[in-house]
């Protein structure tokens, strides 16, 4: 009968064949995906690295002050100076560039998808299992095909980050659209709003706080991928952590990890207050 010591379904081989076939035949397609990401990433990265650290620090401090207040701006100032003093400024800027780049693409792709999912039940139920898979599949599983398709480096790191960080902004955009009271949509329609006007004048403005929460979550998820992305050769704050891990250098791994946490806190607080200012309106 069945002998479970033998493999009857060689799914792993099939997948390997499939990936080989993809790499061989559809290189142009993956280059097409890679190119805009690479372009955006190098742009942001060069910008952040080239600008004098003090200007970058001043900019973030100012943004924190405008959006939240004195407390957050002082925290931002101290944190960024501290990271600079740890000698991790450049790594931090690379990480920031990768996170920003991933978030830009997540936003550009995620908000329209979220709006579609919010307005169509059918699209929503089709999208849902895909999002579940994106969030639950261990990153290590898709690191290998990503490396095969896009080779190692920062761009591959960003692409892996996008896969992981995209779902929250889609989900929360969809939720935000769905949470708009049906009476408000009905009222807009009764006064002769087109579908586009309903979206632009009613649904998006009212969903904005929820969309902002989604953006915040996407940023946090992107930051949590920094170390994993470093496994496939991405630079930034993940690199000292991986190096520390490999050489049992606890100190190096710790300052890398600490910097990630600090950057995460700063970005989280800033984006949270972004959502709140909109809400208070």
């Amino acid at each position: 009968m069945l002998d479970f010591d033998k493999q009857y379904i060689p799914l792993d081989n099939w997948i390997n064949d499939f990936i080989d076939w993809l790499v061989a035949g559809y290189r142009w397609f993956f280059q097409g995906i890679k190119w805009p990401v690479e372009f955006t990433l190098t742009g942001i990265e060069h910008g952040l690295v080239a600008i004098h650290p003090l200007i970058v620090i001043a900019f973030f401090t100012l943004v924190a002050w405008r959006l939240s207040g004195v407390k957050l701006s002082i925290f931002t100032l101290v944190t960024l100076v501290f990271i600079g003093l740890l000698g991790l400024w450049q790594a931090t800027m690379i990480t920031l560039a990768m996170v920003l780049c991933a978030v830009v693409f997540c936003t550009v792709v995620g908000i329209p998808l979220g709006i579609l999912a919010g307005r169509s039940n059918r699209f929503d139920s089709a999208l849902r299992p895909v999002l579940d898979a994106m969030q639950t599949t261990p990153a290590f599983v898709y690191l290998v095909p990503i490396v095969m398709l896009f080779s190692i480096g920062n761009v591959a790191g960003v692409l892996a980050t996008i896969v992981f960080a995209l779902p929250p902004i889609i989900r929360l955009t969809s939720l935000g659209i769905r949470q708009v009271h049906p009476e408000l949509v009905e009222a807009a329609l009764a006064f002769g709003a087109t579908n586009w006007q309903v979206l632009r004048k009613v649904q998006i403005p009212l969903a904005l706080p929820t969309i902002m929460a989604g953006l915040n979550q996407t940023i946090m998820m992107a930051l949590s991928m920094v170390v994993i992305a470093a496994l496939i050769g991405a630079g930034g704050l993940g690199a000292p952590v991986i190096r520390g891990l490999n050489s049992l250098d606890i100190g190096l791994a710790t300052i890398g990890g600490l910097s990630i946490v600090l950057v995460a806190i700063v970005l989280d607080r800033i984006t949270q207050s972004l959502g709140k200012t909109k809400q208070n309106n």
């Binding site: 009271h181 009476e183 408000l184 009905e186 009222a187 807009a188 329609l189 009764a190 006064f191 002769g192 709003a193 087109t194 006007q197 004048k201 009613v202 403005p205 009212l206 309106n281």
Partner: protein, 419 residues
């Protein structure tokens, strides 16, 4: 002149509404259709005309299909079958662009839940309709300033809806409806969420606006009092059918069936509510054979108190008759001095024990409040039309009815809602 003609309009909710339609036509009831096919019949075979410039009230209990009906007039709900002709043009055959244009130019709507945009200021809410049709900002604000003035909201232009009380929020809703200067205004239970005092105030406001604008208003209500107060004509709906259409008087005097009658009878089958229960001593009385009871003195009394009718009693409070300012003046002109020459001849008192059903014809047909007397002909007060209808409404709502002792406390105005 007919503004809106509704012809054989049907709405069936569910997966296969056509099937439900066939079942209705083959004589199946709403319940059978739900039982067999899980299809809900919203409106069946509604046919009526709405005249230009009238307030047409659609009345019915919840679930009677009145909200569905009004939403089919501007196709917020797509009818299953039938015709809606506005100025002779069939709304149901319009394509998307025509429909959008129809909604922008001809109709507006006021909602029970107000449905104001919380992220917009009062003036931007009021300007919403104009904004959709692409009017520039200066023109929008100019038109809205007029609309806000009409509803008494000057000075609140830059407030947000959550800073306003319920009544004020609905004024914004009303201003939004008026700002586009529509031919037809659809009002879906527009005042039902407001407490009674504010509701009455808003009804007056609407009547005042209607005085010089003459729009066609379709007003949905479950409140009999409201329907009678503002409606030029009333349609009564039950289970998706329009069971009667007529003026308030016609419906009061000739209810089409048991259901319509039930509105006026309330839920009290034993007739516990009697004339004496709701009689109120709200009208001026004069005592016969005294100087104060002379024709001149009575007329003087009515003029100073700005009332129309006086009730003539003797010193034992026994009821003798009703005089009006008109009959008193006529009697004076004839040179009469005795007040019984000025009695309204048709006036009759009802007994305290008579049920509301019994006194209905009198209340409905007389312009004066009906006097109520006990078995010894002692005057106990009057029942006015308003009081009568209020009582029925209370009874119909299943809540207590007002008696002379317990008068309903008006609720404080709604707290501003917090977003």
């Amino acid at each position: 002149m007919v503004k809106i003609a509704v012809k054989n309009l049907f709405k069936v909710f569910g997966d296969d509404p056509r099937k439900g339609l066939e079942m209705i036509k083959s004589g199946k009831t709403k319940e059978e259709i739900y039982e067999q096919e899980k299809l809900t019949v919203g409106v069946q075979d509604a046919t009526f005309d709405i005249n230009k410039g009238e307030i047409f009230v659609v009345m019915g209990l919840s679930g009677s299909g009145k909200s569905t009906l009004v939403r089919m007039l501007n196709r917020l709900i797509e009818p299953t079958a039938g015709e809606v002709l506005v100025d002779g043009e069939n709304v149901l055959t319009m394509n998307r662009a025509e429909l959008v244009d129809f909604r922008r130019s001809k109709t507006s709507m006021v909602f029970q839940s107000f449905a104001l945009m919380p992220h917009r200021t009062v003036i931007d809410n009021a300007a919403f309709g104009l904004e959709l049709s692409g009017a520039d900002k200066a023109k929008r604000y100019e038109r809205c300033a007029t609309a806000l003035k009409q509803v008494g909201l000057e000075g609140w232009e830059n407030a947000y809806p959550n800073q306003l009380s319920g009544g004020m929020q609905q004024r914004v809703g009303l201003a939004r409806g008026l700002a586009v200067d529509p031919d037809i205004m659809l009002m879906d239970e527009a005042f039902s969420a407001l407490d009674p005092l504010i509701r009455t105030e808003m009804q007056d406001e609407l009547l005042k606006i209607q005085d010089h604008d003459e729009r066609t208003i379709v007003f949905i209500s479950h409140d009999l009092d409201e329907a009678l107060r503002i409606g030029d004509r009333i349609a009564i709906m039950e289970g998706g059918r329009v069971v009667q259409v007529g003026t308030p008087e016609e419906i009061l005097q000739n209810p089409a069936d048991e259901y319509v009658r039930a509105f006026f009878r309330g839920v009290d089958p034993t007739g516990v509510i009697a004339a004496g229960d709701i009689a109120r001593d709200s009208q001026p009385t004069v005592v016969w054979h005294t100087p104060q009871g002379s024709i001149r003195a009575t007329l003087e009394l009515l003029n100073t108190r700005d009332m129309e009718f006086a009730y003539v009693l003797d010193s034992e409070k026994r009821y003798y008759g009703i005089v009006s300012t008109d009959t008193l003046r006529e009697a004076l002109e004839r040179g009469s001095t005795k007040i019984n020459d000025a009695f309204i001849t048709e006036a009759q008192a009802v007994q305290v024990t008579e049920s509301l059903q019994d006194i209905l014809p009198d209340v409905a047909s007389r312009t004066w409040p009906i006097p109520v007397v006990d078995e010894n002909n002692v005057y106990k007060g009057v029942v006015s039309k308003n009081r009568f209808l209020r009582t029925l409404q209370r009874a119909g709502d299943g809540t207590h009815f007002e008696t002379q002792e317990s008068q309903a406390n008006p609720q404080p105005e709604q707290e501003p809602a917090h977003a």
